[in-house]
């Protein structure tokens, strides 16, 4: 049988990264095919290629055996490929029916006159047939996220999509909504459609798919039949066996006094609801504690709440036994909490300001940089020049705008600033994302040095290799709760992977 869609040796490079490296992928009609991989494994790039958003640098796309070349998303739509994005592409003030025809350039959406009643009837019929009924006259802003997702699926059905790609569709759903979504997907597959289901949650993949293709670091690792796979074997494929302890550098972990204590921390997320649901953890002097987890399980909220950028709704954070005022970043800084944020370009630095300004971003009030209300501009410039030299910021001069630095050098500026403040606690979020190998090693070396000098390091990362290379203790966060904690010595990749994906370790 000819595959509904086939990708042959797809390669896509971005500056400094090979997002897809000769990836092969093939899905049949009537199949739910899961695409599994960690963040940055290349899943999104692959689906963007399949939907015509990116053009591959190399490789072939075949639809029902015929080679195609997509120049724009519209070409992919014409070929019957629809995608339900993680962040919905809906117009909030419009009705469901209006959103469904919007951008449908072949049929109703192209006409000057639309017949709302007829479309509403069609949408209602589709909704009933696939058990995803939504009031066609409701406006998007009135709908829950789960209902909005139904609208996205209705859009695809209305366009008679043969191939439907869903990017982490359950991220916004309750477990009940998720299982009803799975039923709908099954119905659609039974009609002969192809469903490509992108996820990094193992139990979902196991529950819904027929086959699984696993991507890791831009390459496809394997395609297996779901019924032959176990959660454990999928986890091993996803995170990779060989990572293990290869990069680990042993160091003295003279665990000292507790320096950071987080007790029963609750906090709201950006999308409503509680992103943190009672997190408790302790970091001691000289210790690196890693928070492992799949993106969007409360890591960002945890980092921001501990560092005072975000208010907690319940629970507290203490440094050296002293409770911090919730939501007061200045107090956290004063108490010695340094923070290397996830979004280094827009949070970690003010991008248009000079490197010198960014180096004193937190210390400009201090007596070494300011004389009463006046800044000591020369002292600041000299200080910046010294740190640029010491941290080897390539191509950096104090006056250069920070955004002109490469990612790795920008991160060095952030690290230089944060370490220079003589911190007690260092909260680091995805410190090496997007960096090249050399820069990663530099960053890791700095983190080890910080721990060796007695700083308590809280490392939040989605990169298990990094966690295994650095951490003394690993806590796994899942849906805002720490679901397991292991000493690095006794943790296995499979076990951590399983916990990350919401599985229970036995």
């Amino acid at each position: 049988m000819v595959a509904a869609v086939e990708l042959r040796a797809i390669t896509k490079r971005f500056p400094g990264v090979v997002a897809n490296d000769r990836v092969d992928f093939e899905a049949a009609e009537g199949e739910v095919h899961a695409l599994l991989g960690e963040n940055g494994a290349g899943k999104s790039t692959l689906s963007n290629i399949l939907t015509g958003l990116y053009r591959p640098d190399d490789g072939e796309i075949l639809i029902r055996g015929a080679p195609v070349s997509f120049h724009a998303p519209r070409d992919a739509l014409d070929a019957g490929i629809c995608m339900v994005h993680q962040h919905f592409r809906l117009v909030p003030p419009f009705t469901v029916a209006e959103n469904v025809i919007l951008g449908d350039h072949r049929g109703e959406g192209k006409k000057l006159m639309v017949h709302p009643r007829r479309i509403e009837r069609q949408v209602a019929e589709l909704g009933e047939r696939y058990r995803i009924a939504v009031d066609p006259r409701a406006r998007i802003w009135q709908l829950s996220l789960g209902e909005q997702q139904r609208v996205e699926i209705l859009k695809a059905l209305y366009r008679e999509a043969r191939i439907l790609i869903l990017d982490e569709p359950t991220a916004v759903l309750t477990p009940q909504e998720a299982s009803s979504l799975f039923e709908t997907l099954r119905v659609m597959a039974d009609e002969g459609r192809t469903i490509i289901f992108i996820s990094h949650k193992l139990h979902e993949v196991k529950a819904v798919s027929d086959r699984v293709t696993v991507l890791r670091a831009g390459k496809n690792v394997d395609t297996v039949s779901t019924k032959d796979a176990t959660l454990r074997s999928l986890a091993a494929l996803m995170v990779g066996r060989e990572v293990a302890m290869a990069n680990r550098v042993e160091r003295e972990t003279g665990t000292g006094e507790p320096v950071l204590e987080v007790r029963d921390l609750w906090g709201a997320g950006d999308r409503g609801g509680d992103a943190l649901r009672g997190v408790s953890l302790t970091v001691h002097c000289g210790e690196i504690v890693a928070i492992a987890g799949v993106a969007g399980n409360g890591q960002r909220e945890l980092a921001e709440t501990v560092t005072g950028m975000r208010s907690a709704s319940r629970g507290d954070v203490a440094v050296d036994g002293r409770r911090l005022r919730s939501g007061d970043a200045r107090e956290a800084i004063r108490a010695g909490v340094a923070h290397v944020p996830e979004d280094r370009l827009h949070t970690g630095v003010a991008p248009s300001l000079s490197i010198a300004a960014n180096i004193v971003l937190k210390s400009y009030r201090g007596s070494e940089n300011a004389n009463g209300p006046l800044l000591k501009l020369r002292a600041i410039r000299e200080h910046a020049a010294r740190l640029i030299h010491r941290y080897d910021v390539r191509g950096g001069s104090p006056e250069l705008p920070a955004r002109q630095l490469s990612g790795g050098n920008l991160q060095k500026v952030v690290l230089a600033r944060e370490f220079h403040g003589a911190p007690r606690v260092l909260v680091v979020a995805s410190p090496t994302r997007g960096l090249d190998v050399a820069a990663i090693e530099t960053v890791h070396r700095y983190l080890r040095e910080a721990a060796a000098s007695g700083v308590g390091v809280l490392l939040i990362s989605e990169d298990l290799d990094e966690i295994l290379a650095l951490a003394d203790r690993i806590a796994v966060i899942y849906e805002g709760v720490i679901v397991g904690e292991r000493d690095a010595g006794e943790a296995t990749v499979e076990e951590i992977g399983l916990l990350m994906a919401g599985g229970q370790s036995e």
Partner: protein, 368 residues
């Protein structure tokens, strides 16, 4: 296919080439307009230049026109630096004029040493208070300050008109018989007249000098102090500011109050320097506040550049009054001023964006 792309770097030479090019284009288009309307372009441009910038009288008149523009230009630049878009310079100027006039009348005819500081302080308080309304809404309720400050301009205009035309207020002159028929403001006492400085043959209004001093103060504040540093960081990246523990709300209030205060002093300067009464009709028809926004944009929010641009635009405005007459309708003057502003602002786009006439390939891909 024409594509407009954002420039990643802004070459130095563009900073000079674009403004000069814009003015050249403006005069080019204006030449066409003048030819179509049967005026001699050469003659007109020469007169424009002469009445704006050549000779003692022209320059003195230009200083008078430039004074309020300097204040409103600084008002806008102060706020825009932090990406707070205070469009309310107009209304803040009215409020400054109202309180400034009240102070001038209340202090009475004793000494300029009392009257003038009192008027400046009252004007600043009036402008700042009026600017704090959108500031508080923005800081605590995330209301769009562009809309609120703009709307308050209309409120300000209604208030100032009400005080003179529709009420027996403190500001209204009710003593003389003519004033009962034609409403007008009370004349300020002589002590409330601001002095002028004679530099050679030039006459500099006190307000202009005060504005220049304020420009220097603002420059020092924004480039040399912790306050200015915070303003820069917040303006560039509010997230980075909150990450660094800066108090963004307080800064919004402070910057808006400062911005409003400067416009308010501009209002007081109108009372003290030129009008010597609260003059609603003159103030509301001038549109100083809106011109200030244009000036701040052209000056790229740099206080010294604001001084220069205010002077140039003051000259154009002043020349406009001189040009218009029987053979030169005032509408044409407006067209000319409009064209210069339009081209200058349009040229700004070229500094930040580049236009390419090529078959487009996707260039803005990012790692997803």
């Amino acid at each position: 296919m024409i594509r407009v792309e954002r420039r990643l770097t802004q070459p130095k030479w563009l900073m000079f080439a674009v403004p000069i090019g814009s003015v050249v284009v403006a005069f080019g288009v204006m030449t066409l307009v003048l030819l179509v309307t049967h005026h001699s372009p050469g003659h007109t441009f020469l007169r424009l230049f002469e009445t704006a910038f050549v000779g003692r009288q022209s320059l003195n008149a230009t200083f008078v026109s430039a004074t309020p523009l300097l204040f409103t230009g600084l008002c806008a630049a102060i706020a825009f630096r932090m990406q707070i878009f205070n469009i309310g310079g107009e209304g803040q100027l009215y409020m400054g004029a109202i309180l400034g006039a009240a102070a001038g009348i209340a202090v009475g005819n004793h000494s300029g040493w009392v009257s003038i500081p009192a008027m400046i302080a009252a004007g600043a308080v009036g402008g700042a208070a009026f600017a704090l309304i959108p500031a508080i809404l923005r800081a605590f309720l995330s209301t769009n300050e562009i809309i609120t400050s703009l709307m308050l301009n209309y409120v300000g205009a209604l208030v100032i008109n009400y005080l003179i035309f529709d009420s027996q207020s403190y500001w209204r002159d009710t003593s003389s018989p003519t004033a009962k028929v034609f409403p007008q403001g009370k004349s300020l006492p002589a002590a409330a007249s601001w002095p002028v400085a004679h530099v050679g043959a030039l006459v500099l209004p006190f307000g202009l000098i005060a504005g220049a001093v304020i420009a220097v103060v603002i420059w020092v504040l924004y480039t040399r102090t912790r306050f200015g540093f915070e303003v820069q960081v917040i303006g560039d990246s509010p997230r980075a500011a909150s990450y660094a523990g800066m108090r963004t709300r307080r800064k919004i209030l402070a910057v808006m109050a400062l911005s409003g205060a400067v416009a308010g002093i501009g209002g007081a300067s109108q009372d003290g320097d030129f009008r010597h009464t609260l003059d609603p009709r003159g103030l509301t028809s001038a549109g100083y506040g809106y011109a200030g926004i244009v000036i701040a944009a052209l000056a790229r929010y740099n206080p010294f550049a604001v001084c220069l641009v205010a002077f140039l635009l003051g000259g154009v405005q002043n020349a406009g009054y001189a040009l218009q007459g029987a053979d030169f309708p005032s509408g044409l003057v407006g067209v000319m001023q409009g064209l210069i502003l339009f081209c200058a602002l349009g040229g700004e786009l070229l500094i930040r964006y580049r236009v390419r006439f090529a078959r487009g390939t996707r260039t803005s891909e990012a790692v997803a």
